[in-house]
């Protein structure tokens, strides 16, 4: 059996540091909220839409409360108060605020009991819908059978949601298990979620609720034909993490890119804002049965995959601990890593095997997300296809959860229709060819693969210890991660973080925590 020789205590130690790092944020999770979290509450209550010019109603409502200096109590109270006081629906309140017809700070205070009752009604209804979506998914998997492992994950990235649908359906029929709709680059940095169906964008089109709905419908149709549930992925990361998570929960996405630190490190979003938002965002994912995926591959697109292998391991362990805090189960933690070793070096296969095995050893039940070669992909499509084959070989023998298929045209363009079919064929061939190979072999206990994995884990442990000693925010300030300095008081979106007052209400979070058993 292909297995690493790693002392369980060593793993325990690394995990312990990561736990310490993640568990030091109680002050933040309990004491703060953000504009994104508040907009999420509005969306979960059922508020939607945008004004001409594109600004979403939830943004306008939150901005309004902020302007009135009463956001610290949370949107939930103010909006429901207006609903009760004025007998309006959620949407009517939102539209009226957006039109400037309603000043929430001026609405007479309704009876607190009535407000709470109304709120409860909204929460129950909303969470019932999400639970129904989860149930629907669970039933489909029960009916059609579970997802294969490694699952075949392909991206569509035409920049036009309708063209994406064609490609996604074709991909599903070609054998894909999971379709990821790549979003227009740097949507992370938008402090709102665009509205409606979109046909433009940059290397992808926007993550919008309508786009989610369109793609979900298409995949449900094709999935029923194929008698296979086709999973849908999009990105939560960025300034709207919890909002997009909520939209995904509502529209039944199945997988969400959701990394606890990606925004900070790779998008210069404020650390406080990110850690806070990811907390609620992941809780929604957990509640909705959505599998998250983390972005460790990003460490290796700029740094060397051997030298910086430990950063992947360290990040995975931190991501895991933050995920636990939000109520995610290991079965839903798609921790990331990537096959980015220079193909010209000797024994690149053994290096990669060692790194990939380390990931599946540390997270045996997680549907780990294995990213393909990208950095060393070249215009030589034949060679890139071979690199993808080695990647698929390793994905199969190390039992990765999700194989994010490499494209032979990685260095040239976002995938063409035929590129995806060739990628699926590549994976199917390699997976079948090496199906039980892992059962056949044992690693030399003192060999390179074992010692390399131990070395990476050691480096990661040392690193996590250093970070836990400094505290995550200080470590980021000091440039410990990805060689970039990210001070706590800098970065985008800090102004959207606020302290809760003693009357603050986030009834969704409370209910979810309760149901997820997070109130111990």
């Amino acid at each position: 059996m292909l297995k690493l020789n790693i002392a369980p205590e060593k793993i325990g130690q690394a995990r312990g540091y990561a736990k310490q790092i993640a568990e030091s944020f109680d002050w933040l999770f309990k004491g703060y909220s953000s504009v994104a979290i508040e907009r999420t509450i509005l969306r979960l209550m059922g508020m939607d839409g945008a004004i001409e010019g594109g600004e979403p109603i939830p943004n306008l409502v939150v901005d309004h409360l902020k302007e009135k200096n009463i956001l610290n109590r949370g949107v939930a109270y103010w909006v429901v108060n207006a609903m009760v006081a004025k007998g309006m629906s959620v949407q009517e309140v939102g539209d009226a605020v957006a039109q400037g017809d309603l000043d929430l700070s001026q609405v007479e205070k309704a009876d607190d009991k009535l407000v709470l009752a109304k709120l409860d009604e909204l929460v129950v209804k909303s969470l019932a819908h999400i639970k129904a979506q989860k149930g629907f998914r669970d039933n489909k998997f029960a009916e059609y059978g579970p997802r294969r492992r490694p699952a075949l994950y392909v991206i569509v990235a035409t920049g036009n949601i309708y063209e994406d649908v064609t490609q996604a359906k074709a991909a599903a029929r070609q054998g894909a298990d999971i379709i990821a709709v790549i979003r227009s680059t740097a949507q992370s940095l938008l402090d709102y979620v665009p509205y409606g169906a979109t046909t433009v964008g940059f290397g992808g089109t926007f993550a919008t609720q309508e786009n989610f709905k369109i793609m979900r419908k298409a995949l449900d149709e094709v999935g029923d034909e194929l008698k296979r549930y086709i999973s849908l992925t999009n990105y939560a990361s960025g300034l709207c993490m919890p909002e997009i998570a909520a939209m995904g929960a509502i529209e039944r996405l199945d997988v969400m890119l959701n990394d606890a630190m990606y925004g900070i490190l790779f998008r210069d979003i404020n650390p406080k804002r990110t850690i806070l938002d990811q907390y609620f965002s992941r809780m929604i994912n957990a509640y909705a049965g959505i599998e998250i995926q983390t972005g460790e591959d990003n460490y290796l697109t700029t740094s060397d995959a051997i030298e910086k292998a430990y950063t992947v391991t360290a990040s995975q362990l931190i991501n895991e601990q933050f995920a636990y805090i939000s109520g995610l189960k290991p079965e839903k933690m798609g921790l990331g890593h990537a096959h980015e070793i220079d193909p010209t070096i000797e024994n690149s296969f053994s290096y990669e095997l060692s790194h990939a095995l380390l990931t599946s050893t540390l997270f045996p039940t997680a549907p780990t997300k294995y990213m393909p070669p990208t950095k060393f992909a070249s215009g030589n499509i034949f060679k890139t296809n071979l690199m993808d084959a080695m990647f698929n070989f390793i994905g199969q023998v190390t039992n990765q959860g999700v194989q994010l298929l490499g494209m032979l045209t990685e260095a040239i363009h976002t995938p063409h229709l035929a590129d995806r079919a060739l990628a699926i064929e590549n994976a199917n061939y390699l997976f079948a060819a090496t199906k039980d190979f892992a059962k056949e072999i044992t690693l030399d206990p003192d060999g390179f693969i074992n010692s390399r994995a131990n070395e990476v884990l050691d480096e990661a442990t040392k690193f996590l210890q250093r970070v836990s000693e400094q505290g995550l925010f200080n470590a980021m300030r000091n440039g410990e991660f990805a060689d970039i300095k990210r001070p706590e008081e800098r970065g985008k979106g800090l102004e959207g973080v606020f302290q809760r007052d003693e009357n603050y209400l986030n009834p969704f979070m409370e209910k979810m925590k309760e149901e997820l058993g997070l109130n111990k």
């Binding site: 036009n160 309708y162 063209e163 215009g379 260095a411 363009h413 063409h416």
Partner: protein
């Protein structure tokens, strides 16, 4: 996605009618910017634009390999394309045997061979041998087909001689090697000899091979042609249905 106009079909990369294609070719030019520009200009001359020569590699001895993407302006009218295909129903072995009993009422004789220089018997064996191919038994196993497989490198003369001797209902010819269009030459030779000997209309002439299509076969005067991925069932069905029809006339 916009609707497809069947009269103006163009290649599709990731957007309807983008015309995107991939090219790979070598030129006797140096592996440098001048060579790369030569590669681009070859494609320009072929009506390609928005060209991205994304890879070049020195093959030495003065040659360079290029990989490129580009948009072609070429389009075809699908509604005007009518290819001849074998359109007889496909029966499995048991259905076919019954069909022969009922509609023909006697054993059919079929003679197969790789003709002339060709020694690739795997294809014709896949069609004829007992064992068959991909879960379809070969013609030899058909209860009421007398299948004679003459094997490799059979001269046209001998094949026709045997066909005459055996009073064959159909001749099956395989041609795998296509270098310098040798398959066309060999198939033409057989057909001319068959005509000269007055055998052409006495039996069905069927050919097969990876570069053969029904269209091409008919052009060469054959009754049918079968390409890559054909099965014994396709051929047997074609033969028995066509023979039955001819008997009716």
């Amino acid at each position: 996605m916009s609707k497809i106009d069947k009269t103006q079909i163009r290649p599709y990369g990731d957007t309807l009618n983008d015309g995107r294609m991939q090219f790979s070719f070598s030129l006797p030019v140096p592996c440098d910017e001048q060579g790369k520009e030569a590669a681009r200009q070859i494609l320009v001359k072929m009506g390609v634009d928005d060209i991205d020569v994304c890879y070049m590699n020195d093959l030495h001895e003065g040659f360079t390999h290029f990989i490129a993407y580009g948009n072609t302006s070429a389009s075809v009218d699908l509604t005007q394309i009518n290819v001849k295909v074998v359109d007889t129903n496909v029966m499995d072995m048991y259905e076919n045997e019954d069909f022969i009993d009922e509609q023909i009422g006697r054993t059919i004789t079929v003679i197969g061979a790789c003709i002339e220089s060709d020694a690739h018997t795997v294809g014709i064996d896949a069609i004829m041998n007992m064992k068959g191919y991909n879960h379809r038994y070969g013609l030899e196993r058909y209860r009421n087909i007398n299948a004679i497989n003459m094997g490799a490198q059979v001269p046209c003369e001998e094949l026709l001689k045997k066909a005459r001797e055996e009073n064959a209902d159909a001749i099956l010819v395989s041609q795998i090697v296509t270098q310098k269009d040798i398959h066309i030459k060999n198939l033409t030779k057989l057909m001319e000899m068959a005509e000269a000997e007055g055998l052409r209309d006495k039996m069905l002439f069927v050919c097969g091979g990876p570069r053969l299509s029904h269209e091409l076969a008919v052009e060469l005067g054959y009754d049918a042609g079968f390409g890559t991925g054909s099965y014994s069932t396709d051929v047997a069905s074609f033969i028995s249905i066509t023979l039955a029809e001819r008997m009716k006339k």
